[in-house]
Amino acid sequence: MLSDEQYLRYAAQIATATVGEHGQQALARAQVTVVGLGGLGCAAAHYLAGAGIGRLTLLDADVVQLSNLQRQTLYSTADVGHAKADCAAKRLAAVNPTISLQAMQQRVTAANVCQLLSGSDLVLDCTDNLASRYLINDQCYALGIPLLSAAAEGMNGQLLCLHPQHAHGCYQCLYPSGVQQSAACERVGVVGAVVGMMGTLQALQAVKVLTGTEVEWGKLFLFDGLNLSWQSLNLPRSVQCPRCGGNDGN
């Protein structure tokens, strides 16, 4: 049962056919982990907290820098030098004090990733480097947790929705070990609204997944912010993939 306050707080989304009362209860029961609290994670976590995700875990090892404020919308100038995880949790607790927030100033490593992601119903990869992305993909597949992975650079965004129980490819199939990442955001640049939009889309997909709405798993969505155009690509399994290859691979 939803409380009177919950009815009021979430009235706008309860009114939608996608969420409704049952969907709202499902969101309240959900445990979601957001890895990375940069441009993607700020946008995603803000909408997820607002939407009433019952338990939200926030992971980031970094502190807020002045150059983050152009796109990382949970932080203010006074937060510079403070841990992103703590600042984000404080801001989100102000947005929605009725949810449970766990903030950890941690980077995912091979040693801790299993512990950090265990128990999640859904993981959002909002990190900024390939090494973390491989670790998160591997662990989500090992634990059977659906993964919403997004990335942005320049005017371009990518969104990949992965479900270990479905027969499509994984992150490692798309970008096998040995691929080269272009420079990090601050060198190659990124427009704040582009990365914010990709994070927002992660939150949108998360709400759909958690409320039992059908999602197109195994598709790579490409956003061109210059021309406002989208392309979607099918990602089959690679038989050579060390993580998910084998059955149904090609």
Partner: protein, 66 residues
Amino acid sequence: MEINVNGRPLTAVADLSLQQLLQQQGVNGKAIAVAINDDVVHREQWPTLTLQPGDRVTLVTVVAGG
């Protein structure tokens, strides 16, 4: 034959493999994923996949920023 690479028309010789196309275009294969007609083609298939007239080739830059 006529193909399309990232939305631009391109005239290519017959029996061209995907690997040969990437070499001709000077593409760094380590920094991209490739799709043909909206299906990602894994890199172990690049040398043996022969392009067909009308194929739409999409070169996807590795993007990992966030």
